[in-house]
């Protein structure tokens, strides 16, 4: 078993922690009241710190810290204040540009490296994100170009990202020539393309903004199709959603767990009851133990899923397991934090309520708990190497049969 956090990745944690201690924690009051100007400034500072460069290899201009370094950074930034960390959208930009290659990569990479470009997946439609066969957004060929029409909703920061990867119908799923998933194609669309419109923006209960965007005869060049190509759109979308989205969301949930642990331990040392700090009470210690166990388990699952990707191996099942576990653990630990803090835990100026409100907001991001469990269940029942899906057995520590 060789899975371990490297010294480079531990330094990345220290760098992110120092950033959080200076740029986030003293300014939590501004984030709490959703001060947009401050959030913009913070996003610029995060770009300047280069956090988005972790998953970009050295030979492409990044730091090459890998998925492992990236999840550790997102964990620390998320622990300082639970929010949609800006580097996630910059990482999407890289993932989409790399997946598309050619002119798209050439055009966007300089801005991506500087942290000046952001992107989001344009997948969800009003009837849902996982029901891809019933998507209503279409693209039809017109010469060398394609014309896109339709609507996508719940696009994270969709009102301000520079571009996105959109999954659309280019064929009829019932037609034998374009059966099932062969009817779907992924394109890169840019916000400046005529016909692209932000229809409306909505806020979640913690102020995270998602947008509904529409496409009215949006003309997209043929070389904006994401490889492998027409009728093969699910693969690149899944890769991006898993590697950037699911792992990133797991890391931010990990931040909720870590933040809940930190504030609870601090509070348990400071709060005096019956003449003693409350950590002297077994009931409190056991709650903290439960939180710590969840932190250790969630870290192990998330880091390992990231490590597998850094070894060039698939970790789709591990990512689903991590995302499901982190969601549940974040809700559990933040509720423990509220219990430990007593009345203070639900007060606006204390952190537990923030973590507790934020964790459920990530349930649907990257796939709901049900989608995660279904994916895991299908692989466990049908896979030759059950929990690992397509991975060679020797790379996995998970054998259940």
């Amino acid at each position: 078993m060789s899975f371990k956090v490297t010294h480079e990745q531990e330094l990345a944690r220290k760098i992110a922690l120092e950033f959080a201690e200076r740029e986030i924690i003293p300014h939590r009051d501004k984030l709490r009241v959703e001060d947009e100007e401050f959030e913009e400034q913070l996003a610029v500072k995060e770009a300047k710190a280069g956090f988005h460069l972790a998953m970009i290899p050295r030979d492409e201009g990044g730091t090459g810290l890998g998925q492992g370094g990236r999840v550790i950074i997102l964990e620390e930034l998320g622990a300082a204040f639970p929010r949609m960390v800006s580097s996630l959208h910059r990482e999407f930009a890289y993932a989409f540009a790399k997946a598309t290659g050619g002119v798209v990569k050439e055009k966007w990479m300089p801005r991506i490296l500087k942290g000046e470009a952001s992107a989001a997946p344009f997948i969800n439609e009003p009837q849902g994100g996982s029901d891809v066969m019933n998507f209503a957004t279409t693209a039809r060929k017109d010469g060398d170009d394609w014309i896109i029409n339709g609507r996508k909703c719940f696009i994270s920061d969709g009102h301000k990202v520079d571009f996105g990867m959109i999954l659309v119908k280019t064929g009829d799923p019932k037609d034998p020539a374009t059966r099932g998933a062969r009817s779907l194609t992924a394109f890169v669309v840019e916000k400046d393309m005529p016909g692209f419109k932000v229809e409306r923006v909505e806020k979640s209960m913690v102020g995270h903004i998602t947008a509904t965007v529409s496409f009215s005869d949006v003309r997209v060049p043929g070389n904006y199709i994401v490889p492998p190509g027409v009728g093969r759109g699910l693969t690149p979308v899944f890769m991006a959603v898993w590697d950037v989205g699911r792992l990133g969301i797991s890391a931010m949930l990990l931040g909720c767990i870590l933040g809940s642990c930190r504030c609870s331990i601090k509070f348990a040392k400071e709060r005096v009851l019956f003449g003693k700090p409350i950590h002297d009470l077994q009931a409190i210690r056991h709650r903290i133990a439960d939180m710590y166990i969840d932190l250790a388990a969630a870290r192990s699952l998330t880091y390992r899923a990231a490590w597998l990707r850094d070894q060039g191996l698939s970790s789709s099942q591990e990512q689903s397991i991590a995302k499901y576990y982190c969601t549940q653990a974040a809700i559990r630990t933040s509720l423990h934090a509220i219990n430990i803090h007593g009345g203070s835990g639900v007060m606006d100026e204390y952190m537990p309520q923030m973590y507790y409100r934020y964790a459920p907001c990530l349930i649907s991001a990257g796939g709901t708990d049900e989608v995660m469990k279904d994916t895991i269940g299908v692989a466990a029942i049908n896979g030759a190497n059950p929990v690992m899906g397509a991975n060679p057995a020797e790379t996995s520590g998970f054998h259940i049969m």
């Binding site: 480079e8 220290k14 760098i15 950033f19 740029e23 280069g50 460069l53 972790a54 050295r58 730091t63």
Partner: protein, 278 residues
């Protein structure tokens, strides 16, 4: 414009976040620091920042140097994360127990070995010892000019710089020729935050470990035997609030107060109270 090579002297100090865990060993009269993480002192960060700014403006190289036991690499590595080009750790059992003079002597020996140095930066004083002596002592050993309590630095030509130093009732602007040793105050700049590239630099840039055999030193001037300062004792000061109400006419209260301060040896006993004042 001439490139300027800087050396920054840094010192590991107990991480401020863990100060509540530091205690005094009554037997050995030393601090119990086992298990307490070390960090770069706050003024060391200012010193490093100034060197990095000068490098960005003029080119050259920034080298950090420290004398300490194994483990000091951690703070040298952090200096590299922040942007230093290379690091030197002077570490040897023979250096242990050094006071400021012996420390400055070894640091100066290391700086001499580095060779082409235009500027030597330090924090004006360390977070733990707070003597403020090492900067001027290093300068003496190197035969360089020195400036202390520096709050502002501007480059002025190839071999000159303008600096402002803080005095009790204001500040003084001076012009100085390089090479020079500069001890900075916190007002000199705002230290930068590390960039994520620092994690990469830390893997690529080198920390050189030099022992007594690597530097030219007189063995009588190093470590505990070479230290003229001996610590006679260390005591913990207990800070307790004690409220006490004085009553009476204002002049009577003042007299009571003076007497109490004399009893507590805050005021000299021979103080003559002028009746017309109190």
């Amino acid at each position: 414009m001439k490139e300027l090579n800087s050396v920054v002297c840094i010192k590991p100090v107990p991480d401020q976040r863990f100060w509540d865990k530091i205690s005094l060993d009554p037997k050995t009269q030393t601090l119990r620091r086992a298990g307490i993480p070390v960090a770069l002192g706050p003024l060391d960060l200012n010193a490093l920042e100034e060197a990095l700014r000068i490098k960005e403006a003029r080119g050259g190289k920034v080298t950090v140097i420290s004398m300490g036991p194994p483990g000091t690499e951690e703070i040298l590595e952090w200096a590299i994360v922040l942007g230093a080009d290379e690091a030197v750790l002077l570490s040897d059992r023979a250096f242990a127990g050094a006071d400021t003079l012996a420390t400055a002597y070894v640091l100066a020996s290391g700086i001499k070995k580095l060779g082409d140095v235009d500027l030597v930066f330090l924090g004006n004083e360390s977070l733990d010892g707070s003597t403020g002596q090492v900067g001027p002592q290093v300068a003496e050993f190197l035969g360089m000019s020195h400036l202390t309590h520096i709050t502002k630095i501007d480059l002025a030509g190839d071999t000159k710089l303008k600096a402002r130093f803080h005095i009790e009732f204001g500040s003084i602007d001076v012009e100085v020729k390089t090479p020079v040793v500069i001890a900075v105050d916190k007002e000199v700049n705002e230290p930068r935050l590390a960039n994520i590239w620092g994690a990469v630099w830390a893997q690529e840039r080198k920390i050189n470990c030099w022992s007594i055999n690597d530097v030219e030193v007189d063995k009588d001037k190093i470590g505990l035997p070479g230290s003229p300062t001996q610590v006679a004792g260390v005591t913990t000061i207990e800070l307790k609030r004690k409220g006490e109400m004085l009553t009476g006419e204002p002049a009577d209260i003042a007299r009571q107060l003076v007497k109490k301060l004399q009893t507590d040896k805050v005021l000299p006993e021979a103080l003559v109270c002028r009746r017309d004042v109190v």
